[in-house]
């Protein structure tokens, strides 16, 4: 028995000592004559057993036999792929067969970059210089707006008053309808007549 058990627990076994006894299968002498500790040991043992059973059942539910069989077949298939010699796709015969000629037409990629950068710099400088020395062209006046564009009807615009409405309509009356229009009183006339 440990000193701590004697000092702090009046000789009773600690939780750790009980756990150790259960897990290692030992049977401390104290358990034989202490009903309290043997009850605690039984409870702890039962709790551990239940918990283990529960956890294993949960894992076995997640991995039923058919899933394990599928898993094994997948493992074996992967191993087969691993062992299979790697397939190398051959290059087209013409490209492989044709001897490479040193015709001097091959350009190192580094030179391409340098050439592109130089071209960009020359272009920017040339643009600046030409802009400085070219006389400015007179700016053409904006064309006067001769025709007034008819605004599109807007749903959200506030209601206009009746005389404006009549005015707008009069400007766009086609000739064949003019006779009908003249025979119809305008809204302004109607308003005056009603007063």
């Amino acid at each position: 028995m440990r000193i701590a058990d004697v000092l702090f627990r009046q000789g009773h076994l600690s939780e750790d000592a009980l756990t150790n006894a259960i897990l290692s299968g030992e049977h401390p002498v104290h358990l034989e004559h202490c009903e309290d500790c043997s009850r605690r040991a039984r409870e702890l043992g039962l709790w551990l057993t239940d918990m283990r059973a529960e956890a294993l059942a949960a894992a076995d539910d997640a991995f039923p036999p058919e899933k394990l069989a599928l898993q094994q077949s997948q493992i074996m298939r992967r191993l087969e792929q691993l062992d299979a010699p790697p397939r190398v796709i051959a290059f087209p015969a013409q490209a492989v067969g044709a001897p490479r000629t040193n015709s001097g037409r091959r350009v190192a990629p580094a030179w391409l970059g340098v050439a592109a950068a130089a071209g960009l710099v020359i272009g920017v400088i040339g643009g600046q210089v030409s802009a400085r020395f070219t006389p400015e062209a007179p700016i053409a006046p904006a064309p006067a707006q001769t025709e007034q564009v008819e605004p599109e009807p807007n749903v959200s615009t506030p209601p206009v008053n009746a005389s404006l409405l009549d005015y707008d309509l009069e400007r766009h009356i086609p000739d064949p309808l003019r006779a009908y229009d003249e025979g119809t009183p305008t809204m302004v006339q109607t308003q005056y007549a009603s007063r």
């Binding site: 939780e15 750790d16 756990t19 150790n20 897990l23 709790w47 551990l48 918990m51 283990r52 529960e54 956890a55 294993l56 059942a57 949960a58 894992a59 076995d60 539910d61 997640a62 991995f63 899933k67 394990l68 898993q71 094994q72 997948q74 493992i75 074996m76 992967r78 191993l79 087969e80 691993l82 062992d83």
Partner: protein, 222 residues
Amino acid sequence: MAEQVPPLSPREADARVAIDIRAYQADGQLDAARERYGEVVTRYQRRAARIAYHYLRDAADADEAVQDAFIKAYMHIGTFREDLPFEVWFTRILINGCLDRIKARRRRERWIAPPVLDSSGSERDPADYIPSHGPSPEDVVLAEERRQQLMGAVAELPERQRMVFMLSHFDGRSSREVSSMTGLNESTVRVHLFRAIRRLRGLLVTRKIKGQNAGRNNRANR
């Protein structure tokens, strides 16, 4: 009269298998090597699935981890030393794989919201819920709840405590075996185990009390 050969212990049998596989691989008899390795897979597959499932708490992830561990073990069978049991060596590979997956998952979860999982830790299609002739729905719900609480409590343990607890208690390994599987000192393994059990009891008892109080409040509200 033929001399009777004593049966091999599991450890000796594993060592023999490993030697055979290496010999087959060296001879280029890869089909025979795979066939021999299939025996090892059959022997340790369930155990590996349990460990990976308790570690990762996700069936799909655990499935992949187990497959990867077996593939890795096959690829590196040349480095296996016969003085160590095969399952210890293999478990170490599996646990390292699980740890890598947990790290990767944590990195992923920083960016992606986790999927909605059921109590077994896997995504389920509502079409899978087919009525069965098994236990009653109440029993199923209660069992699920208990499992959920247990798995939740195990998941709350610090990583090392969880690993030691799972290997010691769920897998039934001795402190020495757990020590060689994890690379931890034997006394450290015991300390982690005691702490894990103490903490689990605390967590599960607290949850039970909370659950009882919630049930009482629900009844009172009705």
